[in-house]
């Protein structure tokens, strides 16, 4: 048996997804609105569910309703519906209590484009 450690330093380019990726880094939800049906996908779809390829970037409010959630050793994650989006989103939940039904997008503490939802500032609701 041999033991071998391999370290890989990737340089990844988001290409078309750049507005989405840069939005996440600054805590903004950049979605793609379809030119034909106005369907708004977040995460963005290059080709809309209606098959249209033309669209524009729009900034969502960042607030989302939690539809389903899971927790355990792997962390806290949810399937949520962002206000203004027509698709749903899977993401990481940060500091969101079990009874909370909504949250707001948060900039990740990591250098990765980590899609996170955190609790709303008190007194604010969607």
């Amino acid at each position: 048996m041999i033991s071998h450690r391999l370290t890989l330093e990737y340089t990844l380019h988001p290409g078309w997804l750049a507005p989405f990726v840069e939005g996440i880094a600054s805590g903004n939800a950049m979605a793609r609105r379809c030119k034909s049906c106005a369907g708004t996908s977040f995460p963005p779809l290059r080709v809309c569910l209606c098959s249209e390829t033309e669209g524009e970037w729009v900034k969502l409010s960042g607030m989302a309703h939690i539809l389903f959630r899971t927790s355990g050793q792997d962390g806290d994650f949810g399937l949520v519906q962002f206000d203004g989006a027509t698709t749903k989103t899977t993401l990481r939940l940060i500091d969101i209590a079990d009874e909370d039904t909504c949250g707001v997008i948060a900039a990740p503490k990591s250098n990765l484009p980590m899609l996170c939802l955190t609790r709303l500032p008190s007194g604010r609701s969607t």
Partner: protein
């Protein structure tokens, strides 16, 4: 040529487990291939093409494994192709190989599936890599694990279909119980409700024991054209129909995040090729990466309109109308990714010929068997329907 002119003349699996015997993935492939070739009655020189299923170079640290394995198997000179589709890799290799025979490109081909998913890297490293099985930019980098995505998808399914924790328990107990009779299975343990409850929560509703283990292992098939079939293989089953389909890579962009729509489409394509409905399937090897995924698959494949009721009535037990995962499935037999789909097809073929492990072999040979595999959270589905050979009874 029809797909039913493609016969499974050889089928074999190595044990699936965590290897501690100093062997490597090349050894396992050589072993599975040797056993399958022996069953086929063919000579190594009869094999005209090799199809290799392996999910990731990260696991075995061998890029271009098809060429390496061609040499290891003494097949240098054959056309060698590597097939990959995440968890569906093995089934995709079966499809690619079978279509090559159907197209008239070869008379006899070998399919091998392999991955060292247990012994080469730490469990945490494998789980991190698996996270990139989904959209790496939107899910992988968010740290969404396979278990978390499956848990969210299953919750949507359960809310719609009314499946319960008791159903997850039944699937878990049934698959692990079957595995106890499979000497090649990774887990030989009879998990009960208490053991499941006591196991650590990974991503609710999934506890550790609702999950399939990471395994090492290989599986192999020899596929032959009907008019070139060796005389001693008159009982060999046929590949009666195959289907594959894909779904949206983002769970949230799907019309129904709990439904395995790609599996439904793949199954419809396979059934159309055979000319049967799902109700005629007698046994099935289902892709049970998690207990709930088996329930979602049963619904998507059309094997039941009321999954919970049929499950609890024993429809999918070893003596039920459609025995599911007699091998133990991924949850009991284990999951060396590339070997999974090839192993499922091999298992179905051995059962249809009455050659399976004695305690699991049905007394009456079913006519049709289903091998069901997918990659991602059923982002890519591939199913194969096998039919008992006409001389097998």
């Amino acid at each position: 040529m029809q797909i039913s002119d493609v016969m499974v003349t050889g089928a074999a699996l190595t044990p699936f487990n965590r290897r501690r015997d100093g062997t490597g993935f090349r050894d396992w492939v050589v072993s599975a291939f040797g056993t399958a070739l022996e069953l086929s009655g063919l000579d190594r020189s009869d094999i005209q093409a090799l199809y290799v299923a392996s999910e990731s170079d990260f696991f075995h640290l061998q890029l271009n494994p098809a060429s390496v394995l061609a040499t290891e198997l003494g097949l240098t000179g054959v056309a060698a192709t590597r097939c990959e589709g995440g968890g569906a890799s093995g089934q995709i290799a079966v499809h690619t190989a079978a279509r090559a025979i159907q197209a008239g490109a070869a008379k006899h081909v070998a399919v091998v599936g392999v991955d060292p998913s247990a012994s080469s890297l730490s469990g945490d490293a494998i789980r991190e890599l698996y996270g990139f099985s989904f959209d790496a930019w939107t899910d992988g980098m968010t740290g969404l694990t396979s278990t978390a995505l499956y848990a969210l998808s299953y919750q949507v399914f359960a809310a719609e279909h009314g499946t319960t924790e008791a159903d997850l328990t039944t699937v878990t107990c049934q698959n692990r119980s079957n595995a106890c009779h499979n000497p090649g299975a990774h887990l030989h343990r009879r998990d009960g409700p208490q053991e499941i409850t006591d196991s650590p929560p990974i991503a609710i509703p999934y506890q550790r024991l609702h999950c399939s283990p990471l395994s090492d292992g290989a599986a192999a098939l020899i596929l032959s054209r009907r008019d070139a079939m060796p005389a001693n293989r008159a009982t060999a089953p046929t590949l009666a129909g195959m289907g594959a389909a894909s779904d949206h890579m983002h769970l949230g962009a799907r019309e129904n995040a709990g439904s395995f729509a790609a599996k439904t489409q793949a199954m419809q394509r396979a059934c159309a090729e055979v000319g049967i409905g799902p109700g005629e399937i007698g046994i099935a090897e289902i892709y049970d990466a998690y207990a709930g995924a088996q329930l979602q698959a049963i619904a998507a494949l059309g094997l039941s309109a009321e999954v919970s009721r049929d499950l609890q009535a024993g429809a999918f037990a070893p003596t039920g109308r459609c025995a599911i995962n007699l091998s133990g499935g991924l949850m009991g037999q284990g999951a060396p990714v590339g070997a999974t789909g090839v192993g499922q097809t091999a298992t179905c073929a051995l059962i249809l010929e009455g050659r399976y492990h004695p305690e699991l072999q049905p007394q009456t040979l079913p006519r049709y068997a289903l091998a069901d595999t997918h990659g991602g959270v059923c982002t890519l589905a591939a199913v194969t329907i096998l039919e008992r050979g006409s001389s097998a009874l």
